[in-house]
Each structure stands twice: as C-alpha cells, then as structure tokens.
C-alpha cells in the first residue's frame, strides 16, 4: 500500500484553510502522535475529528489547518513519516464534501424570540434540539461558513454556549485508492 503522493497543492502563498483527510491505524496513542507532531513542528490545527472507517482497524482523521502551500507541503511530508499514518488526502472545497455540526444555545426568555430563532433555524435547515422557558438550543449542520453565518445572525439574542464538532470530509466521486 502506497501513501498518496498525488496530493493537490494550490499555488498561492497566502494562508488558506486546508482539509487533510488522514487514514491512520486504529490503535491507542495514534491521536497523540499526530497532535504532538503539530505541536512540536509549530503547525496549526483549526479542528480535528476522528472516527472509525469502513475497516475496523483504520480510523479517519479530518484535520483542518490554516497555512501557506509551503508549510502545508512540509506538514504532509512530516505526517507521511509517521508510521501509524497510512494515507493522506489534501481536500478542498472543490474536490470534497465537507460538513460540520454545531449545537448553539441561546437566551430565549421571550416567546417571540423563541419563534424568531425557530424561524431562522428552519431557514438554515437546523433543528431545535431543546427548548425551555429561558433557552433554546439549535443544531446546525453545514460548512463552517454556514455555521458562522448562523451564529452571526443570532448573536443579538445572546449566545450562551456553543459546541462544534470540527469538519468531517470525504473526497467526491469514485474511490481509486483501495486500503
């Protein structure tokens, strides 16, 4: 099994958000090795999600990072050196589907506020997960931008708590690497 060498790099020198989809051994200590690499080499992690793949002995980590192309290239090479890393795909908005889930709890003592928030949630295809006399909790699924937009929209009501999962992603279309 070869690690993917054909990663696609943008040719800009500006910092950009990249999504790394990393297939790793599903065993203890792997998450530690990866995050420790980011720390010791001064790379940045915006978000990280981990879950089991279609194969029980492999996990998929989706890591979002903001960097320039040169740093990204170095990051990918350093990750490839880790023995528990099986494969890395660099994904972007065009070649991947990517989603994040957020739970947002807001002040909603006033019944009209609750209705307004429920309307906004419905426009954003969100779900009301919990409602009380004082608060309302909405679940929003989408790109990080969409979640940011919803947060901005409801910020006037007073956001009390936010929990975000970080981005999960898969490349679009047919799979040509077989693990």
């Amino acid at each position: 099994m070869q690690k993917n060498k054909n990663t696609i790099f943008d040719d800009e020198n500006d910092d950009k958000l990249y999504i790394l989809s990393v297939i790793v051994e599903n065993k203890p200590g792997v998450l530690f090795r990866i995050t420790n690499l980011f720390r010791s080499r001064n790379f940045n992690i915006e978000s990280i999600t981990v879950g089991i793949t279609e194969k029980p002995d492999l996990s998929r980590m989706t890591i979002t990072t903001v960097s320039d192309v040169k740093t990204l290239e170095q990051l990918v090479k350093q990750l490839q050196k880790l023995i528990d890393v099986i494969q890395i795909n660099v994904l972007n908005k065009e070649n991947a589907v990517y989603r994040e889930l957020a739970l947002i709890k807001m002040n909603a003592k006033d019944p009209t506020t609750r209705i307004e928030i429920a309307n906004f949630a419905s426009i954003y295809r969100g779900n009301i997960m919990d409602i009380s006399n004082e608060t309302i909790t909405v679940e929003i699924i989408g790109t990080p931008d969409k979640i940011d937009a919803f947060k901005n929209l409801v910020s006037n009501y007073g956001i009390i708590q936010v929990a975000r999962t970080g981005v999960s992603a898969l490349p679009r279309g047919a799979v040509n690497d077989h693990l």
Binding site: M1, Q2, K3, E25, G29, F32, N36, Q80, I83, I86
Partner: protein
C-alpha cells in the same frame, strides 16, 4: 518456530535472531525478568555491558551503531532508568542513528496509577523516537523486536523504543518468531526517485564553479567511493557539513573540509563563490548554512536525500533526487557522458582558489604561541594515530577544534554529536565504537567540561576491556561558553570556571585506567604512543590556555559571509 517461553526470554531470543552482540544497560526493578532471561542464555553471542548511568548506555549503543552501521541496543529499567536514556535517545534521533532502547515498565494493572518508578516513557520520548512499541501480551514481543530493527535501520535511521511492562516480561506463552514482517504505514524509499536526476546532472555539468556539500547521509549510506568517483570525475571540490566530516578523505586535493559556524575558513568562503551546489545527504542545518535565505542564493542548489521531508524544509532547491544517496550517486555518475570535459581553464582557477585562501587564512588566523595549543595537539594526534583509527568528540571547543584541525583520512572513521550537541556523548560513544570495531584505536577528543558529565564510564572501559583514549584538552573551563561570553558579553564570565577539579590523572588511576599529564609536545608524543599500545583505557590530560578561542566563527543568526576570523 513455536515455543512456550516468557516474554523476557522471547525478547532475548529475538535479539539473538537479529545477531545482536552487545547490549549496553543497567538493571532495575521493572526489568529484572529481562536480566534473568539474559543470565539464562546458553552459548550466547550477546554480551551485556554494565554501564554506570543509563545516558551512557544510549550513547554507547549510538557509538556502536555509527561504526557498525547496524542498530545498537540499550536496556534500562522504568521511571528514572528510562528517563536517563532520554538524552541519549534524543542525540541518536538528531543524528539519525539507529538504536533500540528496551525499557522495563510497571506491570499493566499499575500503568496510570502513578506507581513507583512509573513514567510514561513513550509519551516522554515521542518527539525523539522514530517509533515506540509497548507489548500488551508477551507473544507480541518477537514481531515488535523484528519491526523495531527494521524501522530503526531502514530509510532515514533513528531510535526505536520498546517499553515492556513487567508482567508482560513474565507472562509465559507460545511464541511465534516471524521471518517476514510488514509495517503497512511505513514505506522507506528503496529505489531512488530519479525524475529530476537529468535536470540535476545538466546543472552540474554546465556549472563553472560547482561544489559538492556532503552530509551525514553519505556516511550513513556508506557512499564514500561513489562520492569520491563523482568528485574526481568532474574535478568538483567537496565541502562537508560537520556531520559529514570524514565522508570524503580530508587529505584529498579536492577536500575543503566542513563549512558552518566553525567551518574551515576557505570552505566557508568558497561555498559562497560556487555557482552550483550539490548537497548530498545533508539537511541545511542552521549551524551549517548560517542563514537559510542567504545560503545558495540565486544559484542552482541540488539536493539528494533519503528523507522526502528534508527536501524544501529549510532550503528551497532547484532539483531534488529522493533516495538512498549511494544509489542516487551511482545513477548520476552513469549519466555523465564519457567524453565530458570540464573547461580546464575555469576549473584550474576554481581549484587554485583553495590554495590562495588556505595561504591567506593560515597567515591571518591567530595561532597561540604556547608550547601546547589545541591546534598543535590535534595535529600531533593525526600524526601518531593510524588512518583507520576511530575518532569521536565531546561537545564544545574541543569538538570544533577537532573539526578544524584534525583531518579524517579514512572515510567513516569520525563521528560526533553534531545535531543535538550533547556534552558527555563522546566518551561513552567511543566505548560503543570500540565494541563495534575492537581492532583499531579509538580516541575521544574531549574537553574537561564534557568529560565530567560521563567520566564514570571509565569503569566500563576498564572492566569490560574496551580501552579507549581520552584526549583531554583541559582548559579548566566550559570553554565554548567562555568564548561566547568573551565575544558577545564583554568578558563577563558567568558560571564557566571548572577550576581543574577533579585531578584527571588521579581520577583515571582510581578506576584502574592509565593516565598521562603532558607539559610539552614531546611528552604528548610519548603519551599518545603509549596510549595506542596500551590495552587499558588511557586519559591524556593536556593543559591548554583557557583564553584559546576557536576561529573562524560564524555568529548565530548571521550568514557565512559574516565569518569572523579572529578577535
């Protein structure tokens, strides 16, 4: 092969299968079963060397590995035993040296309970190991040992840790010793990626003033004859990194010696005048190139390396060939047309430049007028020591003087802690080197500051009959720090006086070693000849001037063009 045995016995059997002949270690509570299994070996080729501090065990394994060019093995117990190894493991990691560190760990049910002598050594060593294993059941051990050697020795070599809980060492179970193993996430490059080799070759052939910069990768890969063939074929002068010192015979007309912070002046100068640099197995460290942005600016820089992550890490290059540098060099040599002729006039001028610069710096770099100086002493060492003798160093001024004034003639006979710069490395590492090659003299070029850190290895050198020579340039100072305080802190000396304590001759003799204190070059001559003939460890105490500086000097954060050649 299927057998019932304990985890500890399986460890020893697996090490025998890897043809291990030396283990450097120290027992303790959590690795008692391993030592018991060692004791139970019958007709074994494995010899255990009892160290006096675990740091030295790791350095010995490292020194052994660098000369034998296969992994060295060290043992330590859990907790403090394991943490004492860390400096040695980090040293090996920084210099890409393959060692296998086997640590005892508290029993599985005690892990995470802050048990006595419990340390999360895998967590502690994570940034300085290539990989780490912790078997949870005993029958994982044979496969883990085999994988450890494979990972440590292949690709870009490095240290691997095996942390074995005590109950796993004791567990008796059926063992299977695999003949073949596969690590699916690990694909060290076997065949070179030659896609840019034609481009690289063209750049070299059309260059008027090409230069080879040979790094430690040449030594790790044993590409000595390939390097020499290439250099001679095209009449290209060769500079080395400090780790690459001795990759190319330093008495060769094309040799310029190491570049860098304390590189040879003519090498530092000429590397800036080159119009094409071929870096082979080098990582463009700050110590070597000064400033990344100034080094090789506006010229073609070509990089051969086994580690893809080194390409473009510190220095963007114009062509890269990824692979073992020995095979990459062979491919490059094949590409050179049979009838290729360098422009002789230009080539002559380029090579003539070396003589001009050597003469210039010979006159302008201060030589101290004392009877014994570091420079004179090292020239004497070269004169007396056979070409195949092995030389290592401590860290500090002694190390940089060795780089400047001791010419390595036989490739691969010199090594030092060049990446991490670990004081106390040289002496135990020289004992490891002696274990790896006991038919040649082994010398540790030492300073008093570094030697103090691991001097208790004298017991090991004497008792284990691994005699080495400590060539102690004694200025009673932490000399390199003193030099920086002299240069950058207006002579405000702070915390650098060692005050000639202990008396190194008495110290050596108390361990049963031989000692000389020399006051003249004639005495040094005699001491060296005596030491080389001796079958017991020898300390040669060479008092030198505490004010003797190392020059030339490229100050940190500056470029090679800012080289200072004297105070």
């Amino acid at each position: 092969m299927m057998n019932e045995m304990s985890g500890a016995a399986a460890l020893m059997a697996a090490l025998e299968k890897e043809k291990v002949d030396y283990i450097f270690g120290l027992p303790g509570g959590a690795n008692l079963p391993i030592y018991d299994a060692y004791d139970a070996l019958v007709d074994s080729k494995i010899r255990h060397v009892l160290v006096r501090h675990e740091q030295s065990a790791a350095h010995m394994a490292d020194g052994y590995a660098r000369i034998k060019r296969k992994a060295g093995v060290c043992f330590a117990t859990s907790g403090p035993g394991a943490t004492n190894l860390v400096t040695g493991i980090a040293t090996a990691y920084a210099d890409s040296s393959p060692i296998i560190a086997v640590t005892g760990q508290v029993a599985l049910p005690m892990i995470g309970k802050d048990a006595f002598q419990e340390t999360d050594i895998i967590g502690v060593t994570n940034p300085v190991t290539k990989y780490a294993f912790q078997p949870r059941v005993a029958n994982e051990i044979p496969e883990m040992v085999k994988k450890s050697f494979y990972i440590a020795e292949s690709g870009r070599p490095g240290p691997v840790l095996i942390d074995i809980p005590k109950d796993v060492q004791q567990q008796v179970t059926r063992m299977d010793f695999p003949e073949y193993i596969k690590v699916r996430g690990y694909n060290p490059i076997v065949d070179a990626d030659l896609s840019e080799i034609n481009k690289a070759c063209e750049m070299i052939l059309k260059a008027e003033k090409p230069m080879i910069m040979a790094g430690g990768g040449v030594i790790l890969s044993g590409a000595f004859s390939e390097l020499q063939t290439l250099a001679e074929l095209l009449s290209i002068p060769v500079v080395t990194t400090f780790k690459g010192k001795g990759a190319f015979p330093e008495n060769h007309p094309l040799a310029l010696g190491p570049i860098g912070m304390h590189g040879h002046a003519e090498a530092n100068k000429m590397v800036q005048e080159a119009d094409c640099i071929l870096a082979i197995g080098a990582r463009f460290s700050d110590r070597t190139v000064g400033r990344f942005d100034e080094f090789g600016k506006d010229i073609n820089v070509i990089h051969f390396d086994v580690d893809p992550a080194e390409i473009g890490k510190n220095k963007s290059v114009n062509a890269a060939v990824i692979g073992d540098v020995k095979s990459s060099l062979r491919s490059l040599i094949k590409l050179i047309p049979k009838n290729f002729k360098t422009n002789e006039e230009i080539s002559k001028l380029w090579l003539g430049r070396k003589r001009e610069l050597v003469n210039y710096y010979e006159d302008s770099i201060k030589d101290y007028s004392r009877e014994i100086t570091a420079k004179k002493a090292l020239k004497k060492l070269r004169e007396i020591l056979p070409a195949d003798g092995i030389v290592t160093t401590e860290v500090g001024q002694c190390q940089m003087w060795a780089s400047l004034h001791f010419d390595v003639i036989s490739p691969g006979t010199f090594f030092s802690s060049t990446g991490l710069g670990t004081m106390g490395f040289g002496f135990p590492a020289s004992i490891g080197a002696k274990a790896a090659r006991n038919n040649v003299p082994v010398v540790d070029i030492a300073g008093d500051g570094s030697f103090n850190m691991t001097e208790n290895s004298l017991a090991v050198s004497v008792l284990e009959e691994l005699p080495v020579i400590v060539f102690l340039l004694n200025n009673q100072m932490l000399g390199m720090v003193a030099q920086w305080q002299r240069t950058f802190y207006n002579r405000r000396y702070s915390g650098v006086h060692q005050k000639n304590c202990p008396d190194y001759c008495k110290l050596a003799e108390s361990y049963g070693a031989q000692a000389y204190r020399v006051g003249s070059m004639a005495e040094l001559d005699k001491a060296l000849k005596g030491a080389i003939k001796s079958d017991v460890a020898t300390v040669i105490d060479i008092p030198i001037d505490p004010d003797e500086d190392v020059y030339p000097f490229v100050a940190p954060g500056t470029g090679l063009k800012d080289m200072i050649i004297g105070a």
